[in-house]
């Protein structure tokens, strides 16, 4: 068995890589897939926080590499979805603590036992980025509709392509239809015209994402996931090969939320 190794990257920081990794991992696990999330952000690890698993981290990927513990010991099983595991990064070290070859070895080993290996890439284009993409066979680029984030995403796509990771797919995060309507924000079309890649998902801006993130409970776990959570669930289905149309968040006359409710009322 050989699972898919997917790196989630962006170039710019703060656009939602880690939130996306946590939610996609949780969504795929909820679909019955075995998923391991690999935190490649050495020195600035956050993924354990977002998953609410911080106090259960004992070993990190470094102890696995040095042989001080077995892989199974380092993996933190999620308390809600037992098919989801986290391989933590070392918080007390920096990006040079690991090499691309070692990362490749780790993701390769994990892909033997998991359906999905999602690698949370640090911001930037330096060694942390090169480590994170080393073992990946697919890439997801996360961006927000801001010129700076799109510019950095463009650079990242170029670097991914020259590293042989072809056809990266895009998640456009924190999308605000009202602002797009008022021509104060780049539209989906504007972003896609520049980046010229396939759109994997569109996540609307939602305060609930911040609330759930701070609580360590990814938004897809909500009993009735709000649009942002539903968008992540849809991305998980697309990763599984299902043909799920992208929800276009347009501002109707009778209010944005009414339209969103209407979109999901049929479910």
């Amino acid at each position: 068995m050989s699972g898919k190794v997917i790196v989630i990257t962006s170039g710019k920081g703060g656009v939602g890589k880690t939130t996306t990794t946590a939610n996609l991992g949780m969504a795929l696990a909820a679909r019955g897939k075995s998923v391991v999330l690999v935190d490649a952000d050495f020195g600035l690890r956050n993924l354990d926080l977002l998953l609410g698993l911080e106090n259960r981290v004992v070993y990190t990927v470094l102890e696995v590499l040095s042989g001080d513990c077995r892989m199974e010991q380092a993996l933190v099983r999620d308390k809600r979805q037992t098919s989801l595991a986290l391989l933590p990064a070392a918080q007390t070290r920096d990006k040079s603590a690991i090499t691309p070859e070692q990362m490749k070895e780790i993701t390769g080993r994990l892909s033997e036992t998991f359906d999905y290996v999602l690698v949370d890439c640090p911001a930037g284009i330096e060694q942390g980025f090169r480590n994170a993409i080393a073992g990946a066979e697919q890439a997801i680029v996360v961006t927000t509709p801001e010129v700076s984030a799109v510019r950095d995403a463009d650079r990242i796509i170029g670097l991914l392509e020259s590293a042989g990771l072809k056809g990266p797919r895009l998640i456009l995060n924190r999308y605000r239809p009202q602002m797009v309507e008022a021509k104060d924000m780049m539209s989906v079309e504007d972003v896609l015209e520049i980046l010229a890649v396939k759109l994997l998902g569109l996540i609307p801006e939602d305060e609930q994402v911040i609330v759930t993130t701070n609580r360590g409970e990814p938004i897809v776990l909500a009993a009735n996931p709000p649009p942002a959570g539903q968008a992540y669930l849809n991305i998980a289905r697309r990763l599984e090969g299902e043909d799920v149309p992208i929800l276009e968040f347009k501002v109707p006359n009778n209010g944005f939320m009414a339209k969103i409710r209407a979109l999901f009322s049929g479910r």
Binding site: D152, D154, I157, G158, S162, A196
Partner: protein
């Protein structure tokens, strides 16, 4: 304005010839740059050759060691291209190639190039932020040039797509050089030592445009008007 470079380094390039596909690797490029450019060419040129095509690697005076030769071979093989022969002027590289089971040619096939008329470079790719193409001859790019990307040529630059980044034509000081684009929305245009910005408001209905130097400044007009005037 930056000082003008004396000469632009040649790029890694492919050339179709009667004996097969020729891969030219210039002497002066750093090895990392060779690999990066080769990957870019291979990613961009998928349609330009057929599977199993034989490739002749031409390196002139460049010294290649075994691992480097194998790295090139591996990249080519990933695109179903077969490295069959190495043409080099250096004995050591010839020996390395022979040890790796390749046929070797120690002659210089190409006549010395006319420096006043360098060959054009044809690239089919999206030039993304942070990428740079510099070439002594004219550059023809099929695709978009995104903001943050740069194209530099001693000759003309033709973009069969939207030019949003920076283009510098006539970089060796030739003010007769031209920049063409289907949609011209550049961050900045440079011809010889002149610099221009694009108008702040792009055309409502974009048309192919050309930038040229007249009376010491850069002008932009529709290609249709430009050709009519000539």
């Amino acid at each position: 304005m930056q000082t003008l470079p004396n000469s632009l380094p040649t790029q890694v390039s492919f050339k179709g010839t009667s004996e097969g596909l020729k891969l030219l690797v210039p002497v002066e490029l750093a090895w990392d740059e060779v690999i990066l450019q080769l990957q870019q060419r291979l990613n961009a040129g998928e349609r330009l050759w057929q599977g199993g095509a034989p490739v002749i690697l031409e390196v002139k005076d460049r010294l290649l060691d075994g691992p480097q030769l194998q790295a090139i071979d591996a990249l080519l093989a990933a695109q179903q291209l077969r490295l069959v022969k190495v043409r080099t002027l250096r004995r050591q590289t010839a020996v390395t190639a022979a040890v790796n089971g390749l046929s070797v040619d120690q002659t210089d096939s190409t006549p010395p190039k006319d420096p006043s008329n360098p060959e054009p470079l044809y690239v089919h790719t999206t030039l993304r932020s942070g990428m740079r193409i510099a070439h002594p001859g004219p550059i023809v790019l099929v695709g978009d040039v995104n903001p943050g990307a740069e194209m530099v040529s001693d000759g003309d630059i033709l973009v069969w797509g939207t030019l949003r980044g920076l283009a510098h034509a006539g970089a060796n000081g030739n003010a007769n050089a031209l920049i063409f684009a289907l949609r011209l929305q550049p961050t900045q245009l440079r011809i010889a030592d002149r610099v221009a910005r694009a108008p702040d408001t792009p055309l409502a209905t974009p048309q192919p445009e050309v930038a040229y130097v007249s009376e010491n400044t850069i002008h932009i007009c529709y290609i249709s008007e430009y050709t009519r005037r000539r």
